[in-house]
Symmetry: C2
Subunit: 398 residues, 2 copies
């Protein structure tokens, strides 16, 4: 459990009114200045880092320093010569205030730069914090970035704010984040579970009204609303397509089987072959974390021997791209279908089983808000379809 104290030094603010001269130079945290940050050019450096202090301009005040405390409604009330409640009425557009009183209050609000503290308001109201959170592996990953974007859009349409967190595939981080979010009393959570986790710790939160929807992978140890992709169906379609092109030796290069989606996709491969009455040659099945060396090795084995694979199925876009690199280096061109679309798949003319990450995020967030609105149907598990996008890489004859 992370410490609770916020990241500012204890001596930052002396009590109440007085503001201390904060000659703060924290030693507690790593203090990476701009110059020390890893922003220096690597490789063919073209330019140099420049820091200019243009304090010549219109705002001579340093960014921090002596901060006037934020005015509260009470401050506004006093300055306007009215009661706190009158200010509250004006701020919230409630009736029961004369136009001129309202105007006077509004003036003071503008002059003081008052802005209502929503945290305090929501605490008082108690019903909702108007915020949800999502936790996923890595927002920098295009797939999750798109999923996240969809969650943000749905939240915006409900006028909710969104907290974000990356688990880095680490169930411990995931749990810490989820608990931190719950401590902030988010109304709901969209979680892409890290592999190997156990979500029973969420039962208490859920029972107390925190809505939780899992996305892309199912929860472990609890029953919860879940949005999944039809992984096996997607791979089955890919296999059938390749079989239809006349291929009979299909290699499968997938991600580590500890990942849920990876299991489903491999299962789809086996199912489709079985369905076609074909045996699975285990020498053509490769799964591991998608490192270059793994892909290199797998391709070497798959494309060698007396009965080499004529077609390749890659289990995610990372593997697909690594495979494309390898194939170019080897100057080989087996038929290829990749699971999961990627930015340049069209340009590279690669056939893919496209998922729709935005649809996952949208479905998850929508279900979440349905639950928050009182939807009490039984727990839902939604399977989203994939779409086979046929391009040149799979239509080469064996």
């Amino acid at each position: 459990m992370p410490r609770s104290s916020p990241g500012c030094s204890p001596e930052m603010f002396f009590a109440d009114k007085r503001r201390a001269e904060m000659a703060v130079r924290q030693e507690g945290y790593e203090h990476r200045g701009i110059h020390g940050s890893p922003t220096t050019p690597i490789g063919t450096s073209v330019e140099k880092t420049t820091v200019s202090s243009d304090s010549s301009a219109s705002s001579p005040t340093p960014p921090t320093g002596t901060r006037p405390p934020r005015p509260t409604m009470l401050d506004v009330a006093r300055a306007a010569g009215v009661s706190l409640k009158t200010v509250s009425r004006v701020v919230n557009g409630e009736p029961g205030v004369t136009a001129e009183t309202a105007q006077r209050v509004a003036d003071v609000i503008g002059r003081l730069g008052f802005r209502r503290n929503d945290s305090a308001r929501l605490l008082r109201q108690g019903v909702s914090t108007g915020s949800i959170a999502f936790i996923l592996e890595d927002v920098a990953d295009p797939f999750y970035a798109t999923l996240a974007r969809a969650v943000l859009d749905v939240a915006r349409s409900h006028e909710y704010l969104v907290l974000a967190g990356c688990s880095d595939e680490n169930p411990v981080f995931e749990k810490e984040l989820a608990q931190a979010f719950c401590a902030r009393r988010v109304d709901g959570l969209v979680i892409v579970p890290a592999p190997g986790g156990d979500h029973r710790y969420l039962v208490a939160e859920m029972r107390m009204g925190t809505a939780v929807v899992f996305a892309d992978r199912p929860a472990t140890g609890i029953d919860a609303d879940t949005i999944l992709v039809d992984n096996s169906g997607g791979v089955r379609a890919a296999v059938q397509h390749l079989l239809g092109q006349g291929h009979r030796r299909l290699a499968y290069l997938g991600d580590d089987l500890r990942v849920f989606t990876s299991q489903e996709r491999l299962a789809g491969y086996r199912e489709a072959l079985a369905q076609a009455g074909l045996p699975v040659d285990e020498r053509l099945v490769f799964t591991a974390r998608p490192e270059p060396e793994f892909v290199r090795q797998a391709l070497t084995e798959a494309l060698a021997g007396p009965e080499p694979a004529t077609a390749l199925l890659t289990g995610n876009s990372r593997v697909t791209i690594l495979a494309l690199h390898q194939l170019r280096a080897r100057n080989e061109q087996p038929a290829l279908v990749g699971f999961d679309d990627f930015e340049s798949a069209e340009l590279l003319d690669v056939t893919v089983v496209a998922q729709d990450p935005a649809a996952i995020g949208r479905a998850a967030a929508t279900l979440l808000f349905d639950r928050l609105a009182g939807d009490s149907r039984p727990i839902q598990t939604v399977r989203l379809p994939t779409r086979l996008v046929v391009r040149g890489s799979s239509t080469r004859r064996p």
Copy 2:
């Protein structure tokens, strides 16, 4: 330094006291069901959407419904037969509690599933909300996704939570988000400004202590800390590289000039040509929003006529990819350098001026936390370098 751990034990019992039935059924929200959501397959549908209600499992309780209210410290105190303050001490690891009292309280905490409300705590403490926010165009864009990821990482190292928002290049959205975040009293804001905005509305917030750092583009109307990329330098390097390859007719295809970075990049193009003593042929300069039709038209003009361009400079990765598509369709191969790296640039063998979005996010967030820690240097403007990554697309002879 309080060590918070309200310790949520997995074992959950009912809060045996009152289980208020607040059968909430708010009608206030729009109630879009899963089926109504736009998740139905488009195009070559391969599978169908499936919704299964597996209520057969261990948790027959519907997700929402009768929620026992969250226990407060007072609830814990009563159940443990101690005072509120004693619970507070236990929860925060403060001294002054007997081991056995502490144990008793801890037991009750576990039994009731108590979790401290951090929003309330932070409101009371008043110093910080332990949260920052970022606003950028679109988290789904790989560039911003990476930038966002870096912000999240820095925030995590300070044990801060992060709110996220997308402006969609709309200054009105940006302002609404910024104000909503300020109303929640975030400690700081990282903003990638939407073009055409005016940030003077932030002056009041900044004066009251909200730290703000702008990233990738400068603020308008105010002085503020800003992290920028050396756009013109990057393009200059690209131009020099192409000149070095013997090219003399370089076309420039850039984004809309209302975008700050677009102006800088075009300026770099002009500067580098001037520096080389070459005139700028305005018929080879094209800027507009990166739509396929714009790129098609621009290429038609650039590559036609008696003196066609032999080399192409694209102002961002969107344009680069569109141009690559067009060039393939036309079966033409002018030399090409793209500004901004993209996922498959290596695979496509495209020379790029690489930015480092993670460095931008890191620098912005680091500066933000420096400010929060009391750093009162004058306003900073940081220029991050780019890196010319030379690949095959630019080494073809004219």
